[in-house]
């Protein structure tokens, strides 16, 4: 019977051979990401920076040049106007206005008046400077707390070496995703932050599956050398890793193609996350594990249940 198999049933790839290469390139990627973050910076959306976002739709294809001309005369400072989704939709972003919250509201009114009857205002978002700063603070707190909670859980369920390896792998995922956003200039907003947390969740899911197998094999093959065990564990879980990555990617591609413009950026960030998460589970998490001398003796409480017929 036909079976679609992206990975052979019993792969025997030598992952550990690539660890030096992947280690160096990952460290480089993280450093470059940090550099990009500080030098280029993120293209922060209004969620964090404060400002105004208006989505408008016209009956006929939108005249972006005309809209730009009209709005630039309002003297609201930096205005970005782009087509969004279909050619009838325009997305207008206006920088945070000088002055307090009232000044921002006046700007919204000016814009809606300037657009006039030709455009239907589909969405108005306005974030004042106070709330923007709070959202940014809360967001960073959320990511930090999630990473630490995951680290502590892994420490509790496995050994400290596993927890450090998982934490560093996750940090790698988060930092390189931020680096990618700095590099491409894609807007970094609340949805992106949600994507990053989901990436962390997905990536740790992957890592835990591999770790589980490593732990099991450490007990099973007591006489084997550690690198051999790590390699075997990676090969045994490879088929599942690929399978899950592909199904998740399929779902994400469906969102990218059909889910509408609002979700597209989110799904794109997630797709990147699935890729980097899969990579980091194999090369960073297990790569770091290979640097430690792992404990082999059975931990009674973490025993995998033995099926009845083997007792």
């Amino acid at each position: 019977m036909f079976r679609l198999k992206l990975v052979s049933s019993t792969p025997s790839l030598n992952f550990l051979k690539y660890m030096p290469v992947s280690g160096v390139s990952s460290i480089a990627a993280v450093l470059v990401s940090i550099g990009l973050f500080f030098i280029v910076g993120l293209n922060l959306g209004i969620d964090f920076r404060g400002g105004i976002l208006i989505e408008a739709q016209s009956e006929t294809p939108a005249d972006i040049g005309g809209v730009r001309g009209d709005l630039e005369n309002l003297g609201l400072g930096d205005i970005s106007i782009q087509s969004f989704g279909s050619d009838r939709d325009v997305l207008i972003r206006v920088q945070r206005q000088e002055g307090d919250e009232r000044a921002q509201l006046q700007a919204i009114e000016k814009i809606t008046n300037a657009l006039g009857g030709a455009y239907d205002i589909r969405r108005t978002e306005f974030v004042g400077p106070t709330v923007g700063a709070e959202l940014a603070e809360k967001g960073m707190l959320a990511v930090a707390c999630a990473l630490f909670a995951i680290m502590i859980y892994i420490w509790f369920r496995f050994e400290w070496q596993f927890s450090i390896a998982a934490f560093l792998a996750l940090t790698h995922d988060v930092l390189t995703t931020i680096g990618l956003f700095a590099l491409t200039g894609f807007e970094f907003n609340l949805a992106t932050l949600a994507a990053i947390l989901t990436i962390a969740g997905y990536s740790i899911n992957d890592t835990v599956v591999v770790f589980d197998r490593v732990r099991e094999n450490l007990r099973k093959y007591k006489s084997w050398e550690q690198p051999k065990i790590l390699n075997k564990s990676l090969n045994e879980t490879l088929s599942r890793t690929v399978m899950t990555s592909v199904t998740t990617a399929i779902a994400l591609i469906a969102i990218i193609l059909f889910g509408g413009a609002v979700l597209r950026d989110f799904a794109l960030a997630m797709l990147w996350g699935v890729t980097i998460g899969t990579y980091s589970s194999i090369f960073i998490a297990v790569g770091l594990l290979s640097r430690f001398d792992l404990k082999r003796n059975d931990d009674e409480d973490n025993q995998i249940p033995t099926p009845e017929y083997e007792r």
Binding site: M1, V131, T198, G201, D212, A251, L263
Partner: protein, 524 residues
């Protein structure tokens, strides 16, 4: 023979049936969600504002304005009391957050001190008084500020409700957040600007006599306003300024009703009726001042200043440069009453109903396509077991929808993304089990044993990996706001239901199949 206890079967079937029951209302047309109680089936999923359209506004009550106002009234009261008690003082002044004054002379006798103490104690517990030598400073203490915030915000919420939902039909969410913030969520609004106009105005209405001793022009030139009067600008841009007596004849609290209408030149105007107390006062002042203009002042600006033609009692008319919708809004605001403090809009997210409907449509298509692709991919990869996993996947989606309906959680656009994403990740638990079964088969086990071992060995992995993902979702929920919270909800529900479907539903299907067919070989 594989075991699957009857009670487990019963639980699986019960849960699936419950899921279907709760999810069912979503198949039908989306009517109003109001009927029934939260835990009765029959309610469709609560759609977030980004899907059904509506406005989300985060407001802040400007407490500093209220504090400043209270300081003025405290200083006025003190002035009267100190005079009445014949205590000599100087430089009594209200600041934005404090009142200060000093006693004349270098020393005060004990009797006077006792008098002052009792006057200051009478101010109430909300204030702290600091005395250094002969000078006094009075300001709100922490508890006093908290009381003020509580009063102001609660009153503001009441007024906002009356302004936004005068008929009580729209079910807006109006909640206090933190010390001085108010969250307003109003579903199904097509004109968010109107909402902002309705709550953006304090709407403090007063009638004050125009001071005829001087003209606004003279006051501007000399920079002096006659004592007891103030210079007020016009509500119209570039309109005439007026010198108006500080004394208020009648204020908005004495209004009984207000409605939009027209004046004798058929220009839009607002008609108002005063209550008995208001009518009495207004009648007295207008009777004494026939021929003089009085100013209708709204939020510190003069709307108009008609000349009193004859004594006016219970009702009158506010004319100005209005159009019909403005008079409608003004009448509504006046009926609802003045806000205790100006409200500052900190955050706004408004989505028109058209965009919401488009988002739902796009989300549905994405979900269908995603589902179809995952289903095909699973069948191609695992054959019949893939079909089992696909059935479980569909049950999973029904359960998520059922749980969302039952909990009356809010489905947002990112929430839909969460569901689509869970479809991708939901098969993971099955994949773990199937891959494990494959390994056991390759290890030479017989079919039933391989399945048994596959499940029991994959179990701890499944629990560990899902729990860690749940952590991330939990933090999204705690720290996220609005739509993002919706994403965290569907993601968490998806993780929970996918563990259930993978471990129970597929297992049930496989056990039933294996026991019926008793296959010697398993093609997986």
């Amino acid at each position: 023979m594989l075991q699957f206890e009857t009670w487990k079967k019963a639980i699986v079937l019960l849960l699936v049936a419950a899921g279907m029951l709760y999810a069912a209302p979503n198949l039908f047309s989306r009517g109003d969600n109001s009927g029934g109680t939260a835990f009765m089936p029959g309610q469709a999923i609560n759609l977030g504002l980004d899907l059904q359209g509506g406005s989300h506004l985060l407001l802040q009550a400007d407490l500093s304005a209220v504090v400043a106002e209270r300081m003025v009234s405290v200083s006025e009261n003190l002035r009267l009391t100190l005079r009445a008690e014949k205590i000599r003082f100087r430089s009594l002044k209200a600041d934005t957050d404090s009142v200060g004054f000093a006693l004349r002379g270098n020393e005060t006798d004990d009797a006077t001190n006792a008098q002052i103490d009792s006057i200051l104690t009478d101010l109430g517990r909300d204030f702290d008084v600091v005395r250094s030598g002969q000078t006094f400073a009075i300001r709100f203490n922490e508890a006093g500020l908290q009381n003020l915030a509580n009063q102001t915000v609660e009153q503001a919420i009441e007024i906002i409700r009356r302004r936004l939902d005068p008929d009580g039909t729209k079910e807006p969410v109006i909640q206090r957040q933190g010390r001085d913030r108010i969250l307003v969520q109003l579903p199904g609004v097509d004109d968010p600007e109107r909402i902002k106009r309705l709550i953006g105005r304090t709407a403090r209405l007063t009638f004050q006599l125009v001071d005829m001793r001087s003209t606004a022009q003279e006051a501007r030139n000399s920079g002096r306003v006659p004592p007891g009067s103030v210079l007020l600008e016009s509500a119209e841009e570039g309109g005439q300024e007026y010198i108006v007596e500080k004394r208020v004849m009648v204020s908005g609290e004495l209004l009984e009703n207000a409605s939009a209408g027209f004046d004798q030149n058929s220009r839009p105007a607002v008609n108002f009726q005063l209550n008995a107390e208001g009518a009495r006062r207004f009648g007295r002042v207008t009777g004494e001042n026939i021929g003089r203009p009085f100013a209708i002042v709204l939020d510190g600006k003069v709307v108009s200043a008609p000349v009193i033609q004859s004594q006016i009692f219970g009702s009158g008319q506010i004319t100005g440069n209005f159009n019909v919708s403005e008079t409608n809004e003004l009448a509504l605001i006046l009926r609802a009453g003045a806000l205790p403090a100006p409200l500052i809009i900190l955050e706004e997210r408004s989505v028109g109903p058209g965009l919401g409907a488009d988002s739902i449509a796009a989300g549905q298509i994405a979900a269908m396509v995603g589902l179809a692709l995952v289903i095909i991919y699973m069948v191609l990869s695992y054959g019949l077991f893939g079909v089992f996993a696909d059935i479980a996947l569909m049950v999973n989606i029904v359960l998520i929808l059922g749980a969302l309906s039952a909990l009356q959680a809010t489905l947002t656009l990112p929430g839909i993304a969460g569901i689509v994403l869970t479809m991708g990740m939901a098969v993971d638990a099955n994949v773990l089990v199937f891959e494990r079964i494959r390994e056991e088969l390759r290890g030479g086990r017989r079919v039933a044993q391989a399945i048994e071992a596959g499940y029991s060995r994959a179990l701890s992995t499944i629990i560990d990996s899902n729990l860690t993902t749940l952590f991330a979702a939990l933090f999204l929920f705690v720290f996220g706001s609005g739509p993002i919270k919706g994403f965290a909800v569907t993601l968490s529900l998806g993780i929970a239901t996918s563990m259930f479907t993978a471990l129970m539903v597929t297992r049930l299907l496989i056990v039933v199949w294996v026991n019926a067919k008793r296959p010697k070989k398993l093609e997986l």
